[in-house]
Amino acid sequence: MHRIDCPWCGLRDEIEFAYRGDATVRRPPADAGIDAFYEYVYLRDNPRGWHVEWWHHAAGCRQWIKVVRHTTTHAIHATAKADEDMQVPRS
């Protein structure tokens, strides 16, 4: 079971959070057109390795937080607030 260190609440069980996917995609400007929104909504890198992702602390502080997690080992490298940039480890 993932134990996620919420930057606000501390270490909590996975069940308090809702996983919400790749946190590197950004909503395009309103006039960016269909292709840009198509990429934003649908296309994902889906890496085998480190992944920066959203977890919504739904049963806690209600914040969207960023988690750098490894998709094959499930190791968590770091967590951060929504407005922070995350560095992905090299390996």
Binding site: M1, E14, R20, G21, Y42, L43, R44, D45, T71
Partner: protein, 417 residues
Amino acid sequence: MSRYSAFRLFLNGLTGHASWPRAWRNPEPRSSYDVVIVGGGGHGLAAAYYLAKEHGIANVAVVEKGPIGLGNTGRNTTIVRSNYMFPQNHRFYEWSLKLWEGLEQDLNFNAMVSQRGVLGLFHSDGQRQIFARRGNWMRLSGIDAELLDRDQVRAIVPQLDFDNARFPIMGGLLQRRGGTVRHDAVAWGYARAADRRGVDIIQHCEVTGIRIVANRVAGVETTRGFIGAKKIGLAVAGNTSHLAAMVGLRLPIESHVLQAFVSEGLKPFVDCVVTFGAGHFYISQSDKGGLVFGGNIDGYNSYAQRGNLPAMEHVWTAGVALMPALSRVRVLRQWGGVMDMTMDGSPLICRTPVEGLYLDGGWCYGGFKATPAAGWCHAHTIANDAPHALNSHFTIDRFRQGLTIDERGAGPNPWLQ
């Protein structure tokens, strides 16, 4: 010579079973093939088999990074059915079910296709209407479906909780032709049948790159060297994004882990496949007596073939809520498979922007039951460089066009699909 039958089993029994041949050869890869299928699961082996059988293309290699059949083919809950809402899905899965029905004679391998029925339960008027819409649509398409009331459900599965349930059972949608198939045997059966038609099955051969010349495939780089190919089919669900990235393709897919469980062997306990409508749980009983069950994906991107406690708690709780007598049954094993979860819950069997590169993936929960039809459609698409009507909807482009096939109406949220 090596045909399987009761008679041959008897003869071999007299001679200590010393003369059974290998089920499939273990060949060295040749320098090139007409078609290389990447992925030696049920889908890839089926595609190779149908290329040889239906399209006369036998100069085919299936390359598999490990031993065949140990990805999702060997780690699912073995259910087959065609009870989908939308015609794009139910017509495809119905063709799959038809192929399942004739599979064993076709392959001369007993995969224990067991049409014991698949029963989906509903617990509210709203759910009944959705099931009715689905069942009626299936019937319009010529697929069997029956809407059962509570008493009819009770007659089939008496040990459900009819009396103390939080979400009372109101009825169910039954597809009698649905059921289960012995999953390992599907990979082995297709492998043996494809091998006998000349297909090379190359195990322990991992694809590390796809060579492209002038936007056309030239072959695959592998841990056993370069293998040339005029056409390449990817059948690596769970890892589709990883392979697609080798040619710079991003897909509307997230990989997620889905868990399954099996109990200790029991005398017959539940006859058909039952799906809970008020929680995430489905269950059937294998011919060996184990109760095979599962639920929803764990709900986060993962390439790890193992799950975690929260999803397990959900599934088991739902199981006991549905069938209180399960409470004292002990469960033996827990495992996980990696699903390609697409943004609409429906698959991809299509050409790609790279000439000669074809894709069979994005299976979400449907991969195992799709095996024969997916292989069949994939082979058709490769052989003709154009899809069959049955898979013409399963394109990548549908997301851009707004032609998503979203059974659940969950939208582009793979964790909800």
